[in-house]
């Protein structure tokens, strides 16, 4: 059966700085020796873990194809172009797959804590600063996701996420 490259991306609750890739490829290719993961931001830079000197992370295939790889490289929410390469022993790229992903766990988690505060004290909804900024946060996250899902517009999606991040990082003034 011919090799058909594929992967999925997810985040785990409580680990907003990490992104987990799962290789869902089908078929086999005995030539595949290793994989590389590129996390490219809208401004062209690449995210890697501390200590990594390349612009990519190596995804070992020593234990066979498939499996998962967690990369702890996010310092905030990102609209990322994630690319995985399957290479042979000579580091020649045999297969490539890339997709765009909005990774929003920092801001989603923060927004949820705001809802927890509301549930504990519903009168917070009467606090105009709190409530307007909570709505703004929600709108910013959703707008970023919309930009990703409907237009694959990483640049504008990142701007939306940056707006949400700014609200989160300045929570003492906004909520």
């Amino acid at each position: 059966m011919a090799f058909e490259q594929a992967f999925t991306v997810s985040q785990i609750l409580g680990q907003p700085s990490a992104v987990t890739l799962t290789d869902t490829s089908t078929g086999t290719d005995a030539a595949i020796a290793t994989r590389r993961i590129y996390l490219q931001t809208p401004n062209g830079s690449y995210l890697v873990e501390d200590g990594t000197t390349t612009i990519y992370e190596v995804w070992s295939i020593a234990f066979g194809p498939g499996g998962t790889k967690s990369i702890n490289a996010l310092d905030k929410d990102y609209a990322l172009k994630i690319k995985v390469e399957w290479l042979n022993a000579s580091n020649t790229v045999l297969y490539t797959k890339e997709s765009n992903y909005g990774l929003t766990q920092y801001n989603e988690n923060f927004d949820y804590t705001l809802t927890q505060r509301l549930a504990a004290n519903p009168l917070l909804a009467n606090d105009k600063t709190f409530w307007q900024n909570k709505q703004l946060l929600r709108t910013a996250i959703d707008s970023g996701n919309q930009a990703m899902n409907y237009a694959s517009d990483l640049f504008n999606a990142q701007l939306c996420y940056e707006k949400a991040t700014n609200l989160r990082l300045n929570a003492q003034y906004n909520y």
Binding site: I12, L123, W131, R138
Partner: protein
């Protein structure tokens, strides 16, 4: 579906109902919060997000109940829409179990308050009850309210303002606990009758009628009913050697008589 996912679905339908309701309601949106649809949306997204990632998260029931409370004006309509083809069931939010000793529920809203925080109702004097706050879908904690002298209560939640916001509360009346002691009941040898001072109300459960007696009423067992501890009419007054008196108060807001006082057994 789990209850939380049901609530999420209800919220998805309640949101457009709330938005459309604002358009239909005209000036001031028919007292429903003007940004209710936005409110439902913002909270639903949070609950839905966490439910997808970790449906057993310990914080989810509370935030989901909050979401359900937000949907309140439209939750029933939403459930009808969701279950349109199958009848379905009405979702009851996971709230504290109501004690079986509950006598009745009294619904009050912001307009019933006498000022920003106080609800005064003499009918509630000396009664024990709990307060269910519908906007947060839970009973108020003892630190969040206090009985008011003369009947009623004060809300102690910071920022609570009944003159500025629309609140809905339900009073879960438990009764007079403990019962006030009715004193002064005695047997008058000359009159051959029990003298019952300050008895306001006697109730015949057998005939389902209510008789209101004046203060200082003298019991005459030829024409009136006598009630034992078991509330049964005593057909043979001569056989009765003791009398126990109960006093009642009619809660017009609930439509029920409740016992508020009890005497010790008085021998003849």
């Amino acid at each position: 579906m789990s209850e939380i996912s049901d609530i999420i679905t209800i919220a998805k339908v309640a949101q457009p109902l709330a938005m459309a309701g604002q358009e239909k309601a005209g000036l001031y949106g028919g007292v429903v919060k003007r940004d209710l649809a936005t409110h439902i949306y913002c909270v639903r997204k949070n609950v839905e997000w966490l439910n997808a990632l970790s449906s057993t998260d310990s914080t989810l029931p509370k935030t989901a109940r909050y979401l359900y409370a937000l949907c309140a004006p439209y939750s029933m309509a939403a459930q009808v829409i969701i279950n349109l083809s199958g009848g379905g069931t009405v979702i009851r939010p996971a709230v504290e179990t109501v004690a079986s000793s509950s006598i009745g529920w009294l619904r009050i809203t912001s307009i019933d308050f006498t000022n920003t925080t106080d609800y005064i109702n003499a009918e509630l004097a000396d009664l024990e009850y709990r307060i269910y706050a519908n906007w947060i879908a839970r009973y108020l904690e003892p630190t969040e309210w206090a009985y008011a002298s003369g009947g009623g209560f004060s809300i102690l939640i910071p920022g609570f303002d009944a003159t500025a916001e629309s609140y809905e509360l339900f009073i879960d009346v438990k009764g007079a606990i403990p019962l006030a002691q009715v004193t002064g009941v005695r047997y008058d040898l000359d009159a051959n009758a029990f003298v019952i001072p300050n008895l306001h109300v006697g109730v015949s459960f057998e005939e389902q009628t209510v008789e209101v007696f004046p203060n200082g009423f003298t019991y005459d067992w030829d024409t009136n009913f006598l009630f034992s501890e078991t509330w049964a009419k005593q057909p043979d007054a001569i056989a009765v050697s003791t009398l126990q008196v109960y006093t009642f108060r009619f809660l017009s807001s609930i439509g029920k008589w409740i016992c508020v006082g009890q005497s010790i057994n008085v021998p003849n």
